[in-house]
């Protein structure tokens, strides 16, 4: 038949071509191809850097390593050799994955946990909301609900504890000066870039163990998941020839001890009470009404209690609680003022006139439910910059600690302002204002995104001055995204940026005196 040959053949060819074009669905994940860490500067003096909580780098101790000619050490070398005789592709991939750096990879794992747990609870039959319980973490809703303040605090504790533990580890590395397995036995291959950094205790083990110890508190339902990751990580270190098992064990011991200091602080920092109760919620409303202002009301149905109203009372890392009050921004425009009406109109303009570009900005920065949250977004931004710097693990940890302490404290200062002023969202003021992203369930003033972002940008600009205005520009965009999305007034954004910058400056001051610069 004539039709068949003239029509069907080209048709089949076209479809076959289309199928091939659409077949390759592998994603290019930016984090998969991070290079192996190979620091130019080993920061060998990091044992003298100023820790966050430790009083001295040897506050916690580890036993001296055994001699490299002892039979037990030789046996440990044999374990490495046994693995290296026939590594599977999977094992090689694991070595490559973890080679990008322990602080980086464990920060990524933490971001994943935050995203997994960043879901507001579903209401009960009676239209009230259940609260996650640390005492019963597996019951719905699982503990925690890692909302932005919770997430900021989690990143801060893990980062600060990791930093202190690595300062301590660097002290012992200097003290014992044990060389890597491949330096002690030429038949052990170095499957990672060779380094002169002493290998006892294993810095990777310090990072993994510190993180696990902190996550027992912060993400108690995830222990099986993270223990599996840690086992892979430690095995990768041994297989790569970078550490013998006793170096791993010493690192784990040190990490656990240091983390216990931070866990003790976390248990008493006030975060456990930050959710408040109905008496607290009622008092917030009454205080606002007494001032003659319109008070915040949840825009969710059924009405959800405000998110962590007492988070402003949590103990910060970079300053004391009195400073939190001192950093509190001046009041927002009164809800009865012309200025307030003007700003509401501006929000409405952005609601009604979205451009494709502005929507992209709103969604890029939204970091709402099911994401690693705004603090996690800044960790992700920082990580991709830090990768280019080829930092030592201890400098990675130090910089993440500075960043995440800023983010946590920014959350504290911002939440203090939100609940001190307790003012309404634009869509409460004018129900005709439709939003381009979900309205967060807490008061408007000041903008959390703005506060987090300015704090992060300030410390990142200090750490990476050659980036110029890059981080400040990003912070401004993150801040404006909340106005474009029609969920914040301009005053919320502006005041948040100012306040966040002040918080970030505390981290800069610390950075300039911690011995690392």
């Amino acid at each position: 038949m004539k039709i068949k040959s003239t029509i069907i053949v080209p048709l089949v060819l076209v479809f076959a071509g289309l199928l091939c074009w659409s077949c390759n669905k592998d994603l290019d994940d930016r984090t998969h191809e991070f290079p192996a860490l190979h620091p130019a500067n080993l920061d060998l003096n990091a044992g003298t850097w100023k820790p966050v909580l430790l009083t001295a780098p040897d506050e916690f101790t580890i036993p001296a390593p055994i001699a490299t000619n002892a039979p037990a050490y030789v046996a440990e070398l044999n374990e490495i050799k046994a693995y290296q005789r026939d590594l599977t592709e999977e094992q090689k991939a694991s070595i490559k994955f973890w080679s990008a750096g322990a602080v980086l990879r464990w920060n990524e794992i933490l971001r994943e946990l935050v995203a997994r747990h960043n879901l507001p609870p579903y209401q009960k039959e009676d239209d009230t909301y259940p609260a996650p319980s640390a005492a019963n973490p597996f019951a719905y809703p699982q503990f925690p609900f890692s909302n932005p303040p919770y997430a900021g605090r989690a990143y801060a504790y893990v980062s600060a504890a990791t930093y202190d533990a690595l300062v301590s580890a660097w002290h012992f590395k200097q003290l014992y000066n044990r060389q890597a397995p491949y330096a002690n036995d030429s038949s052990v291959q170095a499957l990672l870039p060779r380094t002169n950094l002493p290998s006892y205790p294993s810095e990777d083990a310090v990072v993994a163990a510190t993180t696990i110890e902190m996550l027992k508190l912060l993400f108690p339902t995830e222990l099986a998941f993270i223990q599996k990751k840690a086992d892979e990580h430690m095995l990768a270190r041994i297989m790569s020839g970078a550490n013998v098992r006793s170096e791993i064990e010493a690192g784990q011991s040190l990490g656990r001890q240091v983390a216990s200091r931070f866990a003790g602080r976390a248990r008493t920092d006030g975060a456990g009470q930050a959710g408040g109760n109905s008496t607290v919620w009622k008092a917030l409303e009454e205080a606002t009404i007494a001032k003659g202002e319109v008070c915040w009301v949840s825009l969710e149905t059924p009405k959800r209690p405000p998110m962590l109203p007492l988070f402003g009372k949590v103990k910060p890392f970079l300053f004391d609680s009195l400073t939190v009050i001192g950093l509190r921004p001046p009041p927002p425009p009164s809800t009865s003022s012309d200025k307030f009406q003007e700003e509401t109109k501006e929000v409405k303009y952005y609601s009604e006139n979205p451009t494709r570009e502005r929507i992209a900005i709103v969604h890029f920065w939204a970091d709402g439910a099911g994401t690693y949250s705004p603090p996690g977004h800044w960790d992700a931004i920082a990580a991709e910059e830090f990768v280019k710097e080829n930092y030592s693990e201890v400098r990675w940890a130090r910089n993440f600690a500075l960043l995440n302490m800023s983010l946590m404290d920014a959350g504290i200062v911002c939440w203090d302002a939100k609940y001190f002023y307790f003012n309404p969202r634009p869509s409460q003021t004018d129900p005709n204002i439709k939003t381009l992203t979900g309205v967060p369930n807490f008061p408007a003033y000041t903008s959390g995104h703005s506060t987090f972002s300015a704090a992060a940008a300030t410390i990142l600009t200090h750490l990476l001055p050659d980036r110029g205005n890059k981080f400040d520009d990003m912070a401004t965009e993150a801040s404006m995204s909340r106005l474009y999305g029609a969920i914040h007034y301009r005053s919320d954004c502006d005041a948040g940026l100012v306040c966040g910058k002040s918080v970030g400056q505390f981290a800069v001051n610390r950075a300039m005196t911690d011995g690392a610069e």
Binding site: I7, S22, D28, D29, Y122, T301, S427
Partner: protein
């Protein structure tokens, strides 16, 4: 395949032509418009069925422009492009609107056998590609207007007609390209650091049966679509383009060709989602008006329709 599975409307827009056994004769051109209204109050987060007072009723309306041309009696080419608008009755989220995906289809009658004077059996192959024609927002379900994938699909279709009654069965497979979103990191069941989202292919089955004459078609339809991968919406999370969206719909359609106004056709139909996963439990109503023009001198414009 149509785009937004969370709003199932786009699928029904094409179902009248993609999965039926009607062919235009050579040189006949059919153009028209179709309106589709898809709305739901309940939806499935994975297998958990719920409503959401922060969305209320979610409605997706599509205004589709369609065309169909008979290159030969056995080969038709079709196109369609919809303008889509979404809204939710409750909560604060803003509805979106815009022009969605252009679909191009080719339908070929592979064989036709007559067993007697009254019954015949025919087999068709339908190929389709679609692609977004605007840079619309994808990652804003359930109020985004589409999923942003480029697709390529094939459908095999068999039709049996006895006198005025028919049954048509078909199966389709649709490849979907990955889609891009405005975020550069997102969580599915793990973190991904890219703005690209892996979209799984879709298999679908369609059975329709009813009454078919030159002037009237009335049919009952069962349609099942199954996304071959993806993840469930977690409790109280937002939907995502790569959710595992499945739906089984039942419904009825009719088509009437006017005797008085030669060349004018009207169509209508209603479908209802009886089972689903990560989709809204939609009620989908559609109505269309089409005009047939015979660009050659011959008068008969359709095949497979018994002469009265």
């Amino acid at each position: 395949m149509p785009a937004a599975f969370f709003c199932l409307a786009s699928q029904s827009l094409y179902s009248q032509t993609d999965a039926d056994a009607i062919m235009l004769k050579k040189n006949v051109l059919c153009v028209g418009g179709m309106y589709t209204n898809d709305s739901w109050t309940n939806y499935w987060e994975g297998t958990f069925k719920r409503d959401n007072e922060n969305l209320g009723k979610v409605t997706t309306q599509m205004f589709g422009l369609m065309g169909n041309y008979g290159i030969t009696n056995k080969l038709n080419v079709l196109f369609s492009v919809p303008y889509v608008t979404t809204k939710a009755t409750e909560g604060t989220l803003k509805g979106f609107n815009g022009i969605q995906d252009l679909s191009l289809m080719a339908k070929y009658q592979v064989m036709q056998t007559k067993f007697g004077s009254k019954d015949q059996f025919s087999v068709y192959a339908v190929g389709r590609v679609s692609f977004p024609v605007t840079d619309y927002v994808v990652d804003y379900l359930p109020l985004s207007i589409g999923l942003g994938s480029k697709t390529a699909g094939i459908r095999a279709l068999a039709d049996y007609q006895y006198d005025k009654y028919f049954v048509t069965a078909s199966a389709a497979y649709t490849y979907r390209s990955n889609t891009d979103i405005d975020r550069t990191a997102y969580y599915t069941t793990e973190m991904h650091y890219t703005n690209e989202v892996e979209m799984y292919d879709v298999a679908s089955f369609n059975i329709r049966a009813g009454y078919r004459t030159k002037y009237w078609i009335a049919e009952a339809v069962v349609d099942n679509m199954n996304t071959l991968g993806g993840f469930d919406i977690r409790k109280n999370d937002m939907p995502f383009p790569s959710n595992n969206m499945d739906a089984t719909k039942v419904g009825a359609n009719f088509k009437h060709t006017m005797k008085s106004l030669k060349g004018l056709e009207i169509t209508g139909g209603i479908m209802y989602v009886v089972a689903g996963r990560n989709v809204g439990q939609s009620t989908i109503i559609n109505a269309g008006v089409f005009y047939l023009m015979n660009l050659s001198s011959k008068s008969k414009s359709r095949t497979n329709q018994q002469q009265q």
